[in-house]
């Protein structure tokens, strides 16, 4: 079991000094030239066979749906950070298959808890990044899937992680509702049953 003596520093509402806003629309804009030649010298990494994306059973939702779900299920609504307003909610069976696949991925990529380069928030971000990738691989073009990583203060033990520390877990909205996943061991519970639901500080979709 990998534990997470999680370190978290957050500054909210910092008002900083003003600076003039220059329009760069008419100026030359720098562009990066990707170095594909250097990349071509690197091998490809085969990953375990991923579960097939189930587009027919997935459905679209909005950021307002996500906010409403947290308002309904938690006593204190967390900050919800997002860039897009539309999300695709995956089929729940696909999510369960993905959770199993992520355990195989962990082995094949030699993924392990190592603070701070790969600690609890990186585990969560990794889960989210690969869920996004598999949906894209499956041809999902309607938007990002409704999966994000959350920062929580553990009021209670959950999935082998002790109470009294800050931690990171995954939040997913599926065809069956919203769920919390501990990405380090695959434990999954409905948001409404997650013992630390009222101590979620932020959700990053």
């Amino acid at each position: 079991m990998k534990r997470a003596p999680f370190r978290f520093a957050s500054l909210v509402g910092v008002a900083l000094g003003c600076a003039a806003v220059n329009s760069a629309a008419d100026e030359d804009v720098d562009r990066l030239s990707p170095d594909f030649a250097a990349l071509a010298r690197q091998p490809m990494i085969p990953l375990p066979f991923p579960p097939k994306w189930v587009m027919a059973k997935s459905s679209q939702g909005t950021i307002e749906d996500v906010i409403a779900e947290f308002r309904k299920s938690t006593a204190r609504q967390p900050d919800i950070n997002y860039a897009r307003r539309l999300f695709v909610r995956p089929d729940h069976e696909w999510l369960l298959a993905f959770v199993r696949w992520f355990r195989k991925l962990e082995v094949s990529l030699d993924m392990r808890y190592e603070e701070p380069i790969f600690d609890c928030d990186k585990y969560s971000r990794c889960f989210v990044a690969f869920a996004d990738l598999l949906a894209r691989k499956g041809g999902e073009t309607r938007g990002s899937i409704c999966v994000g990583w959350a920062i929580v203060f553990n009021d209670h033990d959950f999935a082998g992680i002790k109470a009294g520390i800050s931690h990171s877990v995954v939040v997913v909205g599926t065809s069956d509702g919203f769920f919390i996943i501990e990405p380090q061991n695959g434990t999954i519970v409905p948001l409404a049953d997650y013992p630390n639901r009222d101590a979620i500080l932020a959700v990053n979709l």
């Binding site: 370190r7 978290f8 520093a9 909210v12 509402g13 910092v14 008002a15 900083l16 000094g17 003003c18 600076a19 003039a20 806003v21 220059n22 329009s23 760069a24 629309a25 804009v29 720098d30 562009r31 990066l32 030239s33 990707p34 170095d35 594909f36 990349l39 490809m44 990494i45 085969p46 990953l47 066979f49 991923p50 579960p51 097939k52 994306w53 950070n81 860039a83 897009r84 307003r85 298959a97 030699d110 993924m111 190592e114 701070p116 380069i117 600690d119 928030d121 990186k122 990794c126 990044a129 996004d132 990738l133 598999l134 894209r136 691989k137 073009t141 309607r142 990002s144 920062i151 932020a202």
Partner: protein, 193 residues
């Protein structure tokens, strides 16, 4: 013999039931990290970030999060390989990144992917290291930035700490800017590392 062949074919097929097409990714990109004079990895904490954000002209920032206490600093010479990896990885899942804004593009997705990929690369090669300084900013694009119109759309870009300071990168357009020259630095409402 026939039974053996039949069993062999069955055994090959069983693990693939319910599986999608195979997936490979380019080897995760290992960025060069800025070093101190004594050879140690240069680290920056959130106070340095705050100073850089301030120098970058960000005003009235509502929300800035750092999940780790200290971060490494990337050599900007690594960025072309990181950009190439991101585009190649996107191609592996059928996404043509330069055309991605024609569809449902989400900048958070790609910032997260690159942060994870570089973290995994360092983990595999070195085991221990500081956190990767690849974050994200979310802003309202009030001002045009290169080919991106100033239409007040909410948008997300990568924010990368390098020896050149904080750089803003947009993967589909490959546009790169120092934070101070990013035309919407006054419209940023979220920064997260």
């Amino acid at each position: 013999m026939k039974r053996f062949v039949a069993f062999f074919i069955f055994a090959l097929g069983v693990p693939l039931i319910g599986a999608g097409p195979s997936l490979s990714l380019p080897k995760f990109p290992l960025p060069a990290l800025v070093r101190e004079d004594d050879g140690g990895i240069k680290s920056i904490g959130f106070l340095t970030f705050i100073r850089e954000v301030r120098r970058g002209g960000v005003k009235e920032l509502q929300d800035i999060d750092f999940v780790d206490r200290e971060y490494a600093v990337l050599e900007s010479s690594s960025l072309p390989v990181l950009a190439a990896w991101l585009e190649a990885a996107a191609r592996c899942v059928g996404v043509d990144l330069p055309q991605a804004r024609l569809g449902s593009y989400d900048g958070l997705e790609y910032a997260r992917l690159l942060q994870v990929a570089t973290s995994l690369a360092i983990l595999r090669e070195h085991g221990k290291s500081l956190a990767m300084p690849i974050g994200v900013l979310i802003c309202n694009r009030r001002e045009a930035w290169g080919e991106l119109p100033g239409n007040r759309d909410r948008d997300a870009y990568m924010l990368i700490a390098t020896e050149r300071g904080l750089l803003v990168y947009d993967p589909p357009t490959r546009q790169l800017s120092e934070l101070s020259k990013f035309p919407n630095h006054g419209e940023i409402f979220k920064i997260q590392f």
